[in-house]
């Protein structure tokens, strides 16, 4: 059951923690530098001769796969390291509210990072006549993808003993989710694993789902997929943190 007062208080505290230290600024600067760098240097933004942001979105899964775990790793591991989990779990606030507030705050920082790429959207409008609705849908896809990686990262932060372990595990989990549908993986498995396993893997791939958003299409299945990942991650993180009531530190 949610505790609105507890949710708001913890959300505000998390946001303060991000923005009163260099953490959020370093993250935003890294994102604001890396996202266009991929688009310009790897995606050949100007060479495509098209007024769209495809080169920006094409590399987002790979960029977010590294940056979102960095944003998620402190969620629970830091509370445990510093002993403040003791404070949080002695407040009359449900663990689900704490988990949701932590997720919402990190997702807000991710949104701020995405907003840092808006000048590129403005630039393509200056250079030509892009399909702005398709770009908006792609942004929605990136936002959902970031949320999915974050939720999984926070669940692993709750399960890990340290922030570094949480980061490494989150990158691996995100890498698995991202690469599951690539021919590199499915082809290598097709000889050894049953066909339904290979199909299920391809079906659960983040890239497959994100590709629809990149084309400017919002499918209900794709929305449900990303929302399910987020619900799973936030719930798993909350359950793991709440389980410490039953034993251990």
């Amino acid at each position: 059951m949610l505790s609105p007062a507890g949710f708001l208080a913890i959300y505000r505290r998390e946001m303060r923690a991000w923005f009163t230290t260099p953490l959020a600024y370093v993250f935003l600067a890294a994102f604001a530098f890396a996202a266009p760098a991929f688009a310009f240097n790897v995606g050949r933004f100007f060479d495509t001769n098209r007024a769209d942001l495809a080169p920006l979105f094409a590399y987002m899964p790979w960029l977010l796969m590294i940056l979102m775990p960095a944003l998620a790793m402190r969620a629970w591991a830091e509370e445990r390291d510093r002993g403040t989990l003791e404070i949080l779990l002695s407040l009359p606030v449900s663990v689900s509210s704490i988990a949701l507030a932590k997720f919402a705050a990190a997702w807000t920082v991710a949104l701020a990072a995405l907003l840092a790429t808006i000048p590129m959207w403005i630039a393509v409008n200056y250079l030509g006549s892009p399909d702005n609705l398709a770009i908006a849908i792609s942004y929605l896809g990136v936002f959902l993808l970031a949320g999915s990686y974050l939720a999984i990262g926070q669940a692993l932060s709750a399960a890990s003993g340290s922030q570094v372990t949480a980061f490494v595990l989150s990158v691996l989990a995100s890498l698995f989710l991202t690469m599951a549908g690539l021919p590199l993986v499915t082809d290598s498995l097709s000889g050894t694993a049953p066909a339904f396993v290979v199909e299920a893997l391809a079906y659960s791939s983040v890239l497959e789902r994100f590709a629809a958003f990149e084309r400017g299409v919002v499918g209900l299945g794709d929305l449900v997929y990303f929302l399910s990942l987020m619900v799973f991650g936030v719930t798993a993180g909350g359950l793991q943190a709440g389980a410490s009531r039953e034993g251990g530190r």
Binding site: S3, A5, G6, L8, A9, I10, R12, R13, R16, A17, T20, T21, R82, G83, T84, E86, I87, L89, S90, L91, P92, V93, S94, R245, E246, G247, G248
Partner: protein
């Protein structure tokens, strides 16, 4: 105000608390004594709703701390061991955060926050980041957060640890001030605190309650009439007997 009824807690194969039972009424200040690892902190964490017992029951007022945890936690002020607090917050922000998470807001929150900061004697340090404060002021910040919502039950795990003699004196005076309308549990290794603030003593060792009596009765267990002799003879006897 508080009922601890046959509470058991195990960590793996180790029994940290073994069928501990006691009650605490408003107006009582209970000194919770025991050697390191005796189970004091575990009992206090269960009273604060931070840990769930494996057996038995903890009730704060009429609220079971497992079935009705959040209602019970609204009535408890808890100073955890080591007085953890968010380093990048100031004591004023930290106390405000704890109050807002408990549902306080507006002028009521501001009044409660300022009163708690004043009672914990934070002074000008209330506006400095907790990470930059001395151990004593950090502890006072955590103490202010524990008392700010004016709970009827206070659970203070070593509240004077790391304080200088003047600060210890102030914290003891604060506990005495609050004692009239609250039930208070104070764990400590500093036995001189017992007669200074406590109306009752519980000694726990290896998870079992050995003694539950008033400080004079406890002191009279030693020929010298000294609390530290009584404590040593009791806990050493048990250690020796079980060795």
């Amino acid at each position: 105000m508080l009922t601890v009824d046959s509470v058991v807690k195990t960590f793996g194969r180790r029994t940290a608390v073994d069928r501990a039972s006691f009650e605490l009424a408003t107006g009582e200040v209970l000194g919770f004594l025991g050697p390191n690892g005796a189970g004091k902190t575990t009992v206090m964490r269960m009273i604060a709703g931070r840990l769930e017992p494996d057996g038995g029951q903890v009730r704060v007022g009429t609220h079971d701390m497992v079935q009705d945890r959040r209602a019970g936690q609204r009535r408890v002020g808890y100073l955890p061991e080591g007085a953890p607090a968010y380093r990048t917050m100031t004591p004023r922000e930290f106390v405000g955060f704890c109050l807002s998470a408990r549902g306080h807001s507006g002028a009521e929150l501001r009044n409660a926050r300022e009163l708690a900061l004043e009672r914990a004697r934070l002074g000008a340090e209330a506006g400095q980041q907790i990470g930059t404060l001395s151990k004593g002021f950090k502890r006072r910040a955590a103490l202010a957060a524990a008392i700010a919502h004016d709970p009827p039950l206070l659970v203070l795990d070593e509240p004077t640890d790391g304080l200088d003699p003047n600060q210890k004196h102030e914290v003891r005076a604060l506990i005495r001030d609050m004692a009239a309308d609250k039930a208070i549990i104070v764990s400590t290794h500093i036995l001189e605190e017992v007669p200074a603030v406590c109306s009752r003593v519980i000694v726990i060792d290896k998870g079992r309650i050995l003694v539950d009596e008033n400080p004079d009765e406890f002191a009279s267990r030693a020929r010298s009439g000294r609390l530290d002799d009584a404590f040593r003879s009791l806990t050493r006897t048990i250690d020796g007997a079980s060795a």
